[in-house]
Amino acid sequence: MNMPMTQEPLLSLKNVEASYGKKIKALKGVSLEIRRGEIVALIGCNGAGKTTMLKTISGLLPCEQGVITFNDKKISGLPAHQIAQMGISHVPEGRRIFARLTVAENLQMGRFTRRDAGGIERDLRQIFELFPILKERQEQLGGTLSGGEQQMLAIARALMMSPQLLLLDEPSMGLAPVITDKIFEVIGEINRQGRTIFLVEQNASRALEISRRAYVIDQGVITAQNDAKRLLNDPKVQETYLGVA
C-alpha cells in the first residue's frame, strides 16, 4: 500500500562525508532517504558511524562533502540551532537532559523557539499522555530521575519542538528490558501521531521490528538497505547484528 504522499523524501542524504579531525573519516559518502511518516532504522556496530550520521544531520558536526536536504531545502552547512528550528529534533546519545533543571524546565527549554501557545498546549497534553510519569514528576530535577525516565524526558523535550523528524540515538541504551519495551511502544505511538522517526540502535532486532525500512552501516558506508522485515530475515544481518548463529 504505497501512498504517493509517503514516497517523497522528507530527508535525504547524498554522498555525505564527515570526519573527526583531519584523519578519521567516519562517514564515507553516505546516501539515504527518509520518507514522510516512516520509521527508519539505522543499525550497525560500535564505531560504524551511526551517531556521526545523526550528528551530521542535526548540524552538530559539519557535513564536509555531499548534500543533506530536508523538505527539499538544503540544510547541510546550517548551524545546529537553525536545523532544530526547521523541524528536526535530535535526541542525542546519553540523553543530555538538563540535570540541574526540573522536568518542567527541561520541557520548557524544548519549546524555546516556539510562539504558538495553542500548539504548545496540544503537544504538552500529548506528551503527558505518552509519559504520565513526567507530569507527576515535573517539579523534580532532571538528574534525579531514573535512566528510563530520563530517556522519556529527553524524547519529551524533543517533542516539545513539534518536530517533523525525530532523530533518536540509542534510546534503549542502558535500560532494563521492560523499560525498553515501554520506550519502543512510545516510539511507535509517536510515529502514529504523524511524526517521522529515524532510529539509531544497537538493539537491532527491536529496531527492525518497529521500523518500516532500515539501513545497515559499517565503517562509514551503507552496506545494506531494505524493508525492515526482510533485513530481519536476512541471514547475513542475522549473523552480524542479531546474534543468530
Binding site: 548540524g59 538538563f98 524555546f112 523557539t113 501557545a117 495553542g118 498546549e121
Partner: protein, 348 residues
C-alpha cells in the same frame, strides 16, 4: 513581575507556562527598600565624622559590585570562564580619561567608553568564544595581560606607567545640571544609582527568555543547541553585556580618581572578581553582591575587625581562610542561585 507566557494570539490559552514559585514577596521587597534607604542615609550621616573615610571605601566596593554583576552574565549565567575581565574595566577607564581630558560631557564619555569596550569585546569574543572551560580561561587571561602591557608601554597614547592625565591636563569633574560632582559622597551616590540600575537589569534579564537560554547553555551546550537555542550568539550576548558593565564602572572610576594608571588593572583584580562571584554564588544577584562586598571590602572589614591588635598583620591570611572555608562548606556560594522554578500546568 512573574514572566507569564500570554501569547497575543492566544490570550486565553488554558495553559500556564512559566508559573513561578519564587516570586519576590512583599517582605523581601520591603527589606531591599530598607537596605537601600540605609545605604542612602548612613553615608550622609558619616560625612562629618572621623569615619568619613568609609564612604570612599564603600564607593570602591560599589565599583566591585558593578564589576561583579557584570561578570556574572558571562560567568554566572552563561558559565564562561573569563579571567581577563579587568581589561574591559581598563578600556572603559582609559577611554573615559582620554575623552574627559578633551572636555567631553559625562553622558557622551560613558557612551563612548561603552562603545570602545563593546568593539574590543566583540572582536575578542568572535575569536575566542569557540573555546570552552580551561582554554577560554587561559585565552582571556592572556588578553587581560596584553591589555595591561599595552597600556603600560604605549607611551604616546596612554602615557605608560605614569598614567593619565599628563602633567598640565586634567579630567574635569562630572557636571550634572550645573552641579559638579567632587566629593567622595557624590561619587558614592552616583555609583549607588548605577548599582540599582545594574541590579534591575540583571534581574530582568535573569528571568527573561534570554536568561533561561543562558541557563540551558551553561547546563549543557549541546542540548541547548539541539533545542534551537542560538548558542554562539547568546554566549556572545552575555559576553557583550558584561563589557557594558565594566566600561561603566571604568568610566566612573576614571572620573572619581581623576587619574588612571595600568597598575589598577592587574591580573589579581580579574581573579578577585571571579572569586567574588564564586564565593557569593554564581548566577545569583544577591550572592554576587554579597561576594563583592565581602571580598572587595575585606581589607577594610579586617582592618576594622582586627584593628589595633597584632592580628592585623595576618589579615590576608584570614582573607584566604575565608575563601577556602567558603568553597569547602558552601560550594554553591554563600547565597546560591535560586532560580524561579517553572511548572507547567494545563488548566481545565
Amino acid at each position: 513581575m512573574p514572566p507569564t507566557l500570554k501569547h497575543p494570539n492566544y490570550p486565553n490559552s488554558p495553559i500556564t507556562l512559566f508559573k513561578t514559585k519564587h516570586q519576590a514577596s512583599w517582605k523581601s521587597k520591603l527589606s531591599s527598600l530598607a537596605a537601600l534607604a540605609a545605604l542612602i542615609v548612613i553615608p550622609a550621616l558619616l560625612q562629618s565624622t572621623p569615619q568619613a573615610y568609609l564612604i570612599r571605601s564603600a564607593g570602591l566596593v560599589g565599583l566591585y559590585v558593578l564589576l561583579a554583576l557584570g561578570l556574572n552574565f558571562t560567568l554566572g549565567y552563561a558559565g564562561l570562564f573569563d579571567l581577563g575581565y579587568i581589561a574591559f574595566y581598563a578600556i572603559g577607564a582609559y577611554t573615559a580619561a582620554k575623552l574627559a581630558i578633551l572636555g567631553w560631557s559625562f553622558p557622551v564619555v560613558v557612551a563612548a567608553s561603552i562603545a570602545a569596550a563593546l568593539i574590543v569585546r566583540l572582536w575578542v569574543g568572535v575569536a575566542i568564544l569557540r573555546l570552552r572551560g580551561d582554554y577560554l580561561a587561559i585565552v582571556t587571561m592572556g588578553f587581560g595581560e596584553i591589555t595591561r602591557l599595552v597600556l603600560n608601554n604605549w607611551d604616546s597614547f596612554t602615557n605608560g606607567p605614569k598614567g593619565l592625565p599628563r602633567v598640565g591636563e586634567t579630567i574635569m569633574p562630572i557636571r550634572i545640571f550645573g552641579f559638579s560632582l567632587i566629593s567622595n559622597l557624590h561619587y558614592y551616590y552616583l555609583i549607588l544609582i548605577f548599582i540599582v540600575a545594574a541590579v534591575i537589569i540583571s534581574k530582568r534579564l535573569e528571568n527573561s527568555r534570554l536568561g533561561r537560554a543562558w541557563v540551558a547553555i551553561r547546563e549543557d551546550e549541546m542540548a541547548a543547541q539541539l533545542t534551537g537555542i542560538p548558542v554562539a550568539n547568546l554566549k556572545l550576548a552575555a559576553f557583550m553585556i558584561s563589557a557594558v558593565f565594566a566600561a561603566v564602572a571604568g568610566s566612573l572610576f576614571a572620573y572619581w580618581e581623576r587619574f588612571v594608571t595600568p597598575e589598577s588593572f592587574v591580573f589579581w583584580e580579574s581573579i578577585l572578581i571571579v572569586a567574588m562571584i564564586v564565593t557569593g554564588g554564581m548566577g545569583s544577584v544577591h550572592g554576587v553582591i554579597l561576594g563583592a562586598i565581602l571580598l572587595g571590602g575585606a581589607p577594610q572589614i579586617l582592618q576594622i575587625a582586627l584593628g589595633g591588635s597584632e592580628w592585623i598583620n595576618y589579615r590576608y591570611f584570614f582573607f584566604g581562610l575565608v575563601l577556602v572555608l567558603t568553597v569547602l562548606f558552601r560550594p554553591q556560594g554563600l547565597f546560591p542561585e535560586k532560580r524561579r522554578h517553572a511548572t507547567l500546568k494545563i488548566n481545565g
